[in-house]
Symmetry: C2
Subunit: 230 residues, 2 copies
């Protein structure tokens, strides 16, 4: 990752563990960070409150939340109340928590925002290790989006290339947690659970909770997550 | 364009002349058409009413409108009330009516919807002739998006490729109007103007009105547009 003193970046911030780490990486690398979150009809709206906390704690320059009516197209356990969140370990294939084309959509809006800001870098916390079942978390997808971005925009046409930065893409969850801890990330501010209770406490049994628990255990770092008693 | 009896397609429908023609082309080619429009904070909301009329007249299977808070990122005369709509012919470069990354964003959401529907085709009315100043209206952009789409989705991963269809991309406005007229499109239902009045009457002087007027003149077909007196 190149150092970039005074360069601006858009950082996609979900309120989860990964994107909190990405914000810390972008700040370490010298970017002025414009955090961007989405209200896309996700069940776990408590994520948006977490995103606001993380943006502030992580010294983002500002934080915007874009409304995006993805609930209207359905198709995922995370946006469609008729599809249950799975509570067992994934058995292969693409999980029901996959939101169709989500990362394509989020990166596309981030690209528009980057163009408005004149920012040349977009950071996203995708991870191909734990989320290998999601097609839009793989390195080939990120490379293809970067190529598209430079055909799609004024900046690309005018010779100011846009870079899509996915600094976690090849790290394990334990490695991500070690990296973020070294950079001072307070993971108690983050929410990973797909179905937190109204107080923000995690279920402990969805895929996302499972990866998070195993990550803290593997990193040998105390897990600050509040789990609800079931 | 291949005939596709009983295949489903997502058709991006703005309420303007081009996308009304695209819907007619998709219907001619045998697709069951799921029309998709966006409420993205555009000034010309009257477009959405036109889109609903066009979807119905064009025998779309259904019509959805997705909320998308692009006004929150600003940067275009079409979504930002602080930027005036230009009223003179473009003088080169990218016009102020360009919405940053708009077609990337619209195609990304259409891709998610296509995945939910199991549709293998997405139709978009981009045009590289009149709108050559918009980077995301060029054939290279469409080809790059199609490539991305097949890396980004469950369908792509599972060997059911997604096709991005841009049947107007190399046609002049007059050719588009002749094509649509042959297919029975009622252009009096459509709105192209960037700043219509509350009754839907066109200004007659913005770039979009100018292209439309010249198109009807070139096609030697009577222009059904209602222009307001200025």
């Amino acid at each position: 990752m190149c150092a970039a003193v005074n360069s601006s970046a858009v950082v996609l911030l979900s309120g989860g563990l990964d994107s909190a780490t990405v914000l810390a990486v972008a700040r370490r690398d010298g970017y002025a960070c414009h955090a961007l979150s989405f209200d896309y009809g996700q069940r776990h709206r408590i994520e948006l409150e977490a995103a606001a906390r993380v943006a502030k704690a992580g010294n983002a320059r500002d934080h915007r939340v874009i409304t995006l009516g993805l609930g209207d197209i359905g198709g995922s356990a995370l946006t469609d109340a008729n599809i249950p969140v799975p509570e067992n370990a994934a058995t292969g294939g693409i999980p029901m928590t996959y939101v169709p084309a989500r990362n394509t959509i989020l990166l596309a809006v981030a690209l528009g925002y980057a163009e408005v800001l004149g920012a040349g870098d977009i950071f996203i916390g995708v991870n191909a290790v734990d989320y290998s079942g999601y097609p839009d978390c793989r390195p080939g997808f990120i490379a293809a989006f970067e190529q598209l971005a430079n055909l799609a925009t004024r900046a690309g046409v005018e010779g100011r290339p846009v870079h899509i930065r996915a600094p976690l893409i090849r790290l394990s969850k334990a490695e991500i947690i070690r990296l973020g801890t070294d950079l001072g990330v307070d993971y108690s501010l983050t929410v990973s659970c797909y179905q937190p209770d109204p107080l923000g406490r995690a279920c402990g049994v969805c895929d996302s909770c499972r990866f998070r628990r195993e990550g803290f255990a593997g990193a040998e770092i105390p897990d600050p997550t509040q789990y609800r008693v079931r």
